[in-house]
Every structure is written in structure tokens, then in C-alpha cells.
């Protein structure tokens, strides 16, 4: 594998978010609904998180937990209808995306914040060359000439470690291997030198060795703030500074990556990690899978959405959704039981 120089150099790696640093990307109280034939599905419920400059936040959760919907809605990329963003605020470097006109939004997307998608084959336009697609956003943002845009595309392909960039730049998506295509997509997302990169399960479709190369590549861009969506906890452990866990459209726990993996407090996170829920029942054995299914988003119960599957549930969990509260420094969980335990500890 060829070396992959960082996008910008000279910055120290930010592994921890110093308290008080102004976040570069902030999602606040986001609510998204989908109109379906069965009724209105509440896909994203009061989701909020923030990412500091240079920080990598991982959002984990099973399929349908609202990870992708949250991020697409935040960037106003969800088709409306059937979706509707009913509340919230999204700030990119202080700019509120929801207050922008369509045209102003286009100036922010691809320049300040950009996205990498899961399936690189369907995420590329099949009938345009790789090079064209890498530079087309930047061409508009910076008013580049065709020639300069092509040079930029070649440079970006080289940076993400695509061999023969001079030749690849004129090829079409279907002519590249899956790993090369994913690199090209990262090149495309980074071509505008954004401050924030949103990666929606970018390694899920790749085999393990290619996945490791892509992770190494992403790690090399140290200045970049990253939101990494994944259901692969192994990937998250090696990449993220902080982790947010989503369940049924809500963030139910978030904290530093070490806390989440070694000191998870929410029973869902524990179950997800396959750890032993020790809260009230120390004798319980390992959970291989979580029994039951997530609740229907069309008919969410008023209380905790994990109630039906929870090993430590109590009657009060049925009355209302527990809020995210501090259970450790910079570590929050949305669980009455975990909150009590944190208070008495």
C-alpha cells in the first residue's frame, strides 16, 4: 500500500476533546419523521451531539436505529416527502444549516462538510468519470477551470493512495475495484478540504484487509473532524475518540470511546457489546443476542424504547423516556437505573 500523506500537515492530533472548545459540527434536538403507509414513523427523536475540531465521533446502533437518517436530515439531504424534519438545529462552524436558502446550503455542502457513503458503486454516478465526480463540487465552490479540476482530481486520487491516478481519473466507477472506489469516494469528499467529514458505514461493504487500509487512510487526516456511522464495534474502537449509541431514533448513551467499551452504563450498550449486565443481576450469563426486536417507530411507547428487551427494567421506565444524564465525566446515559447507580456510586 502506498503512503497516504495527511490532507493538511502541522497540526497536533486531537485525540480528546478539551472541554470548552467550540464544536465545529453541532446537532441539537433533531427530530425527523417519515410518512409511511402504516403511519408516521418517528425515525429521529431529539438527537443531539457535537464534534470538536479534529475529533472523531462514532455513531453506532443497529439497522433502522436512525443513524443515517440523522445525518442525512442534518445536511438536508433526505427526500421530503416522505421525510420531514420537524425540529432541531444543525450548526456547521457556527452556520445554521436549517436557516439557509437552497443556494446557500450548496455553498456549505462539499466545502465545509461532506459525506462518504456505504455502497460506493451506487453512490457514484455510473455514467460520469471518477475524475469529473471528484472535482465537480469543488469546481463550483472555487470556480476552477476544467484543467485545474482535473489536476485536483489526480492529486486527490494520489493522496488517498489510488495507484495510476493519471489513468484512473478518466475511468468510470464500474472499472474500479470496491476498495479503490471507496478511496475515490473519500478523495471526492475531501476534494473541497472540508472541516467535517461524515462517513456513513464506509467500510461495511469491503472485505477486512481493504477495510483496514481505509481506516488507516482516514486516521491519517488528523485535522479533520469525523462523524463515523457504523454498526461494527471493532472498527469504532480503533478509530473514534467518542461514541454515541443510538436506539430507536434516540441517542441512549454517549461518552469517550474507552468508557463506552469498558464502562458502558446503558443496558442496551452493554447488550450490544455482549457484556454482562451487572446492574442488579450479577449472576446473569453472557448475552449472545438481544432477545426481542426494537419497537416500531410508527408506534413508539411513551417510556424507554428499550423497555421490552431490557434486563433491568422497572415500572418507572414505562412512564416517560429517560433523559441523557451524566453518569461519569463527559459520559451520559439515558437510563433511570444507570443514573441511580451513578448517583450512589
Amino acid at each position: 500500500m502506498s503512503t497516504t500523506p495527511p490532507l493538511t500537515t502541522g497540526a497536533e492530533p486531537a485525540t480528546q476533546t478539551p472541554l470548552g472548545v467550540k464544536p465545529i459540527f453541532e446537532v441539537d434536538d433533531l427530530q425527523v419523521e417519515f410518512r409511511t403507509s402504516a403511519g408516521v414513523a418517528k425515525a429521529v427523536n431529539h438527537v443531539g451531539f457535537s464534534v470538536a475540531p479534529g475529533e472523531c465521533l462514532a455513531i453506532v446502533g443497529e439497522s433502522g436505529s436512525g443513524k443515517t437518517a440523522t445525518l442525512l436530515a442534518a445536511l438536508r439531504l433526505l427526500p421530503t416527502p416522505p421525510s420531514r424534519t420537524t425540529g432541531g438545529r444543525v450548526l456547521v462552524d457556527g452556520v445554521d444549516l436549517f436557516s439557509l436558502s437552497r443556494k446557500e446550503l450548496r455553498d456549505v455542502l462539499g466545502r465545509d462538510i461532506s459525506m462518504v457513503f456505504q455502497d460506493s458503486l451506487s453512490a457514484f454516478n455510473p455514467i460520469l468519470t471518477i475524475g469529473r465526480q471528484i472535482s465537480e463540487g469543488v469546481r463550483r465552490h472555487r470556480g476552477l477551470s476544467k484543467k485545474a479540476a482535473r489536476a485536483l482530481s489526480i492529486e486527490m486520487l494520489e493522496r488517498v493512495g489510488v495507484p495510476d491516478p493519471q489513468q484512473r481519473v478518466d475511468q468510470y466507477p464500474h472499472q474500479l475495484s470496491g476498495g479503490m472506489r471507496q478511496r475515490a469516494m473519500i478523495a471526492m469528499a475531501l476534494a473541497g478540504e472540508p472541516k467535517v467529514l461524515i462517513a456513513d458505514e464506509p467500510t461495511t461493504a469491503l472485505d477486512v484487509t481493504v477495510q483496514a487500509q481505509i481506516l488507516e487512510l482516514v486516521r491519517s487526516f488528523q485535522d479533520l473532524s469525523i462523524v463515523w456511522v457504523s454498526h461494527d464495534l471493532g472498527v469504532v474502537a480503533g478509530l473514534a475518540d467518542r461514541v454515541a449509541v443510538m436506539y430507536a431514533g434516540s441517542i441512549i448513551e454517549q461518552g469517550p470511546v474507552r468508557d463506552i467499551f469498558h464502562d458502558a452504563r446503558h443496558p442496551y450498550t452493554r447488550a450490544l457489546l455482549g457484556s454482562v449486565p451487572r446492574l442488579r443481576d450479577p449472576e446473569r450469563g453472557d448475552l449472545v443476542s438481544i432477545p426481542g426486536l426494537p419497537p416500531s417507530l410508527v408506534d413508539l411507547p411513551p417510556g424507554c424504547p428499550f423497555y421490552a428487551r431490557c434486563g433491568v427494567r422497572e415500572d418507572r421506565c414505562l412512564s416517560r423516556m429517560p433523559e441523557l444524564v451524566d453518569v461519569a465525566p463527559r459520559h451520559q446515559a439515558a437510563c433511570f437505573v444507570a443514573a441511580d447507580e451513578a448517583r450512589t456510586a
Binding site: 439531504l77 451506487s122 453512490a123 454516478n125 455510473p126 455514467i127 463540487g137 463550483r140 465552490h141 473541497g192
Partner: protein, 341 residues
């Protein structure tokens, strides 16, 4: 480049198809029921074995079929398609005279069906499940469902007999107009080139209704195809990618939505050309249009085998060639075809 090689290969592949077409057309014409000799020699001569044998010998009809096919093929490559027993002229000359009228009608129908089909289909897709979508879907269903001859007659009833805004079934020009100088045989084009705008206007007025009637089926088909492929592209993940890069609305439409949505439509449009030539038979009959459709009907009624064969070969050849051209255009639009294995 990939496209040139693709085009060359595709055109070469069209040759055996053309040959196969000739064989099938020739054999079919040979074994069609009906006795052309009875017609040609009259009731008396047709039932006289001596006259029949003499006639068959004269025209080589006593030779085995493969020998006659070989003779036909040899003449065909020199542009000789045999004699029409009806017009007493060379079939090739007849076709040259009648074909431009059909081509002009088919081209006008393609323009009507293509433009309206694409526009209506796009409108329906952008207003998916709203009232414009419903209106377009209804139009499309009716346009492709109503028989051509019925639509033609109703069109004449309304626009000619009742409101008198369009000419009646009197062919390509009104009585007061002379055909323009022959250049291509397409009256509108020839009149335009020679600066004869009065004739051009009259030719266009005569074209309008038949073109609509002939194109209606493909108009409906194209509207529905365009709507479906447009809806698919509007939902495609790569459109989200493009929007996430902040490209302009124009770039989005011009490079991401339209080219992808038009790929299936081009296929239908190409096939429509062949279909329109064949479908012209009914329209030409209704509107007294002097094209090969009407020529074919007259030839069939007169059991004029050489003429029938000539029309079949011509329409078939146009079909084969447009098919090849469609494939090449398809490859030009879609690199996955052009550069695929």
C-alpha cells in the same frame, strides 16, 4: 476509442441479421396463399396450363426456390428489386417515390411522440402522485390504448368536419399547391430549402393530424417510460452524493438526472422508428397518405409479390439498422455498455 470499435462491431453484426431477414421474407412471400398467376393472366389464362407454364418459364418461376433467391439477391445488391405487376414499374423506383412520404410522416410522429412523451413523463415524475402525474398517466393510457384507425377518424371528425381547422384526408398537400422541387422528398424540408414557405406551411398542416395519430401509441409509451426511469433516478443514491457535494441545480439536472433517465428512453425511441414505419399502413389509409403503407396495401390487394417483398425488405432493413444505431447510441450514453466485457 471504445465507442468506434463498438459501433463497427455492432454494424458488422447487422449484416447476418439483414441476410436472415431476406431469407425469411423471401420464403414467406413464396408460400403465401393466393395465386398471382390467376390474377395476372386473367381467369381464362390462369386456368390454362400452357399459358401458366409459358409465363413461369418466362419469369423463371419454374426454378427451385434457392435458385430464385440467389437471383433476387444478385439483383438486389445492384438496386434492382424486380418489377411491380401493379404499377408496371421497378419496385425500387416505386419505393423511392413512396418512401419519403412515409419517412416524413414517421419523423413528424417521432417528434410529436418524443417531445411530448419526454416532457409529459418528466412532469409526471417531478409531481409524483400529485394531480399532474394523474393527468399524464391518464393521457398516456388513452394515447397508447386507443386504436390508430379510430383515433384518425375521430380526429378528422373533430378537426376537419366540425371545426374545419385542419385539412381533410387529401394526402400531403392541398389542391392549390404543387409539390416543391424534389431534393429529399420530404415536402416540409424541400419547401423550406427552396424558400417556398406557403407550401411548407400547407405541408405542415397536412402532417399535423396524421403525425399525432401515428405517434399516439409511442407518445403514451414514452411518457410512461420516461416517468418510470425519471422516478428511479430521482431516488438513486448517487443523486444524494451529488447533492452532498453542493453541485448546482443545473449540473444536477444536466449531468446526473437527465442522462441517466434518458438511457432507457432512447431505446424505446429507436424502436419506435421501426414501429412507426410498419404502423404507417393504417394511418396512411385513413389519411390517403401516399406512402409505402398505402403502397403495401395496394400491392397486397393485387397479389403483387415483388412489391410486397420490396416493402417488407425495406421496413425490415430500416428496423435492423435503427436497432444497430440504438445500440450504438446506448453505448455512447452508458460507459458500462461501451466498456463492459
Amino acid at each position: 476509442m471504445g465507442l468506434v470499435r463498438f459501433a463497427a462491431r455492432r454494424l458488422l453484426l447487422a449484416l447476418p441479421t439483414l441476410l436472415g431477414l431476406l431469407v425469411v421474407a423471401f420464403v414467406l412471400a413464396n408460400y403465401l396463399p393466393g395465386d398471382p398467376l390467376a390474377r395476372l393472366l386473367g381467369d381464362v389464362g390462369g386456368s390454362d396450363p400452357v399459358a401458366r407454364a409459358a409465363y413461369e418459364k418466362e419469369w423463371g418461376l419454374d426454378a427451385p426456390i434457392y435458385e430464385r433467391f440467389w437471383v433476387y439477391l444478385q439483383h438486389l445488391v445492384t438496386g434492382d428489386m424486380g418489377q411491380s405487376t401493379l404499377t408496371r414499374r421497378g419496385v425500387a423506383d416505386d419505393l423511392l417515390e413512396f418512401f419519403p412520404a412515409t419517412v416524413e410522416l414517421a419523423l413528424a410522429a417521432i417528434v410529436v411522440a418524443g417531445v411530448l412523451g419526454l416532457v409529459l413523463g418528466s412532469v409526471a415524475a417531478f409531481y409524483h402522485n400529485k394531480w399532474p402525474d394523474l393527468v399524464v398517466r391518464t393521457i398516456a393510457l388513452v394515447a397508447s390504448g386507443v386504436p390508430v384507425f379510430w383515433l384518425g377518424i375521430i380526429g378528422l371528425q373533430v378537426f376537419y368536419l366540425r371545426f374545419d381547422v385542419l385539412p381533410g384526408p387529401e394526402g400531403r398537400l392541398g389542391r392549390d399547391f404543387e409539390p416543391p422541387t424534389h431534393i429529399t422528398g420530404l415536402y416540409t424540408f424541400d419547401a423550406l430549402v427552396t424558400g417556398d414557405f406557403g407550401t411548407m406551411w400547407d405541408a405542415m398542416r397536412h402532417l399535423l393530424l396524421p403525425a399525432f395519430v401515428l405517434g399516439s401509441f409511442f407518445l403514451g409509451l414514452l411518457a410512461r417510460m420516461t416517468r418510470a426511469s425519471m422516478l428511479e433516478v430521482l431516488r438513486a443514491p448517487h443523486l444524494v452524493t451529488a447533492r452532498s457535494k453542493g453541485v448546482s441545480a443545473r449540473t444536477l439536472l444536466q449531468y446526473h438526472i437527465l442522462p441517466n433517465a434518458l438511457i432507457p428512453t432512447v431505446t424505446v425511441l429507436g424502436l419506435a422508428i421501426g414501429g412507426l414505419l410498419a404502423g404507417a399502413v393504417l394511418t396512411e389509409t385513413v389519411f390517403s397518405w401516399p406512402g409505402i403503407g398505402r403502397y403495401a396495401v395496394d400491392a397486397a390487394k393485387a397479389l403483387d409479390y415483388q412489391a410486397i417483398l420490396g416493402v417488407t425488405v425495406l421496413i425490415g432493413a430500416v428496423y435492423v439498422i435503427t436497432n444497430a444505431v440504438v445500440d450504438i447510441v446506448y453505448a455512447a450514453l452508458d460507459p458500462r455498455i461501451r466498456l463492459g466485457e
